[in-house]
């Protein structure tokens, strides 16, 4: 029996296996330590971030170098609303909404540009937002940051993050298996031909971009609540964007489970090994990007897909 048919046989166990895993994760906080909950919560956050980046950059090929902007936007929105008394779940959703607004404001001019120019525009975005956060001091607390009233909601945030991660993965599945998703991919494959075939690429890019901003916005808000303190540098760090990108590239961009795989593997390494060597950590991330781009541009899942002829919707 070839490996392909082996995997197909195991494929039937996939959904039940997934269900079991989800149940375990749901019950996890009951017997886990506070530390364990916070670690898993972060993993869910990274999964949500990676999946979102995949929605725009993996599917349409438009590299968003400034995606952390939506995370920060959500963080600040939630932070500001919570300090004014709004309950955090609602504030986090508002964070997601504001992130979408930001995505529209940026996307409207920038997505008309062709891929590389869009990437350049996004490169500068981070800086601009960091400057803006410092500038609007009255609202954001400027460089000194914003403190939220103390609250230990780790477990609830764990579930919230988990839900978002699940939702985004589900959304990705729905998109990749639909004609909408196919059309997004044509933008990546050959934008000129896509236009010539009647696809309004600008409209599709905007949809993808907006969709890709929701989860980072919400997750940013949840993270802000969890950390209890926000300052410009902590919510707009380049490292977050880099990590998002590496996770997706490594796992397999354009696939459904690639970002999850990448997030799990890299996050594990991060926690166990690299957190102890911060600068080596970043050099390593750079090296991984280089290696993946040169040696396995389609990531781990891409390699497996080719080798074992797996379907694209994996």
């Amino acid at each position: 029996m070839t490996l392909a048919t082996e995997l197909q046989r195991w494929g039937r166990w996939f959904l039940p296996g997934l269900a079991v895993l989800l149940v375990i994760l749901a019950l996890f906080p009951i017997w886990a330590t506070g530390y364990g909950v916070r670690v898993m919560l972060q993993l869910f956050m990274w999964i949500a971030l990676a999946q979102s980046w995949n929605l725009i950059s993996g599917l349409t090929g438009y590299v968003s170098f400034g995606h952390v902007a939506f995370f920060g936007m959500g963080a600040y929105t939630t932070g500001i609303l919570v300090t004014r008394g709004m309950p955090w779940p609602l504030a986090a959703l508002a964070g997601g909404a504001m992130a979408v607004v930001l995505a529209f404001v940026i996307g409207w001019p920038c997505l008309r540009l062709k891929g590389p120019y869009f990437a350049i525009a996004m490169l500068g975005l981070n800086e601009v937002l960091r400057v803006a956060a410092s500038y609007f001091e009255g609202l954001t607390g400027g460089g000194l940051g914003l403190s939220l009233p103390t609250l230990d909601a780790s477990v609830r945030i764990y579930y919230a993050m988990g839900l978002v991660a699940l939702a985004v993965t589900g959304l990705t599945h729905a998109i990749v298996t639909s004609r909408f998703g196919l059309r997004l991919m044509t933008i990546r494959e050959d934008e000129v031909a896509a236009e010539a075939m009647g696809i309004d690429t600008f409209r599709y890019k905007i949809y993808a971009f907006l969709l890709s901003a929701v989860a980072p916005g919400i997750v940013g808000g949840l993270a802000a609540r969890d950390m209890g303190y926000i300052e410009p540098i902590s919510v707009f760090p380049l490292l977050t964007t880099i990590t998002m990108i590496v996770m997706v590239l490594f796992g397999g961009k354009g696939t459904i489970w690639g970002p999850v795989l990448g997030a799990v593997i890299l996050f594990t390494f991060q926690e166990l090994v690299w957190a102890h060597f911060p600068h080596a950590h970043q050099v390593l991330l750079g090296a991984i990007i280089i290696t993946v781009v040169l040696a396995m541009p389609r990531g781990i899942l891409g390699v497996l897909q080719q080798k074992y002829n797996l379907p694209r919707t994996v």
């Binding site: 991330l285 090296a287 040169l294």
Partner: protein, 296 residues
């Protein structure tokens, strides 16, 4: 009235600002020319351009702090050294993505830039460094120009002129321009395109390093200093038109001018956003650059 916002402008202020803009612009032009070469010849957007500038700055710093070498003399070291680094990067890494979709080269150079920045951090830590060499200003009538800026501009102008003479007059330079126009035709004419790629990347890196050396005397040196130059170089290329080398020159001067003029009316923080807004505006209104050039 917020501090830093001026309500009326005197001719002297204007004159000061315009000349300052041109001084800064020359430096931008030189560095941007490098980025433009890589894009024109290989169609690669080199996100690592800023880090290469940073390397030049650190080389100057190191030579200055260990053996007290005159920073301007260190140009003779930083430029050739970073030239070689550029050639090595091209040969080992960049060459493999020249024909790949643009996404690949973008990500690859992005990876390189991360690696370079963090290697610098490992080597030098993120502590701010400086090269205290030239202070004070030249006083010309009612105007005062920082000495280091004037000298940086002179060197930048000189190096850029040499670069242009090279492109116009020498065989290698002409070959570079040929490949920028059309790689296929250049190949048919017997030009060794691989060698041109190597040389162009090296030259571009050297130009960036020169920028770093000149800037080392003026600003704080730290590993992430290059990022803003990468971005501004992109802006200059967009202003002048991709593949339009003389356009990069004018684009650089234009950027310098706009920045200095903006500083008259805006606080320094918002100043950083000026370049960004300018980029988005130009990309939307005249994607082929103000002076015309190739679109991607």
């Amino acid at each position: 009235m917020r501090p830093g916002v001026i309500t009326h402008v005197t001719p002297i202020m204007l004159g000061q600002v315009i000349v300052s803009g041109l001084l800064a612009g020359a430096l931008y032009a030189m560095v941007a020319l490098g980025l433009g070469l890589i894009f024109g010849v290989m169609r690669v957007l080199n996100v690592a351009h800023g880090p290469l500038l940073m390397l030049g700055a650190y080389i100057t710093y190191w030579l200055f702090s260990t053996v007290g070498l005159n920073p301007y003399l260190s140009l003779l070291v930083s430029m050739p050294l970073v030239f070689l680094i550029g050639v090595a990067l091209q040969h080992v890494l960049v060459r493999r993505v020249v024909d790949a979709p643009e996404l690949s080269s973008l990500l690859l150079t992005f990876g390189i830039s991360i690696a370079l920045v963090n290697l610098a951090q490992l080597a030098f830590t993120s502590d701010l460094r400086s090269v205290e060499f030239l202070t004070g200003s030249f006083l010309v009538g009612p105007f005062a120009f920082s000495k280091s800026r004037v000298i940086a501009c002179l060197f930048a102008a000189g190096i850029t002129t040499l670069a242009f003479l090279f492109l116009q007059k020498t065989r290698m330079g002409k070959a570079i321009r040929a490949v920028s126009q059309s790689r296929e035709v250049a190949q048919v004419c017997g030009i060794n395109v691989q060698r041109i790629h190597l040389f162009a990347f090296g030259l571009a890196s050297a130009l960036a390093a020169a920028g770093g050396t000149l800037v080392a005397v003026m600003v704080a040196i730290q590993p992430e200093m290059g990022a803003v130059y990468t971005f501004k170089s992109f802006l200059v290329i967009v202003l002048g038109g991709a593949g339009n080398y003389p356009g990069a020159l004018l684009g650089g001067l234009l950027l310098g001018l706009v920045e200095q003029l903006a500083s008259l009316f805006l606080t320094t923080q918002v100043n950083e956003a000026v370049a960004y807004v300018l980029l988005v505006l130009v990309l939307l209104l005249r994607p082929t650059g103000l002076l015309g050039g190739r679109s991607t």
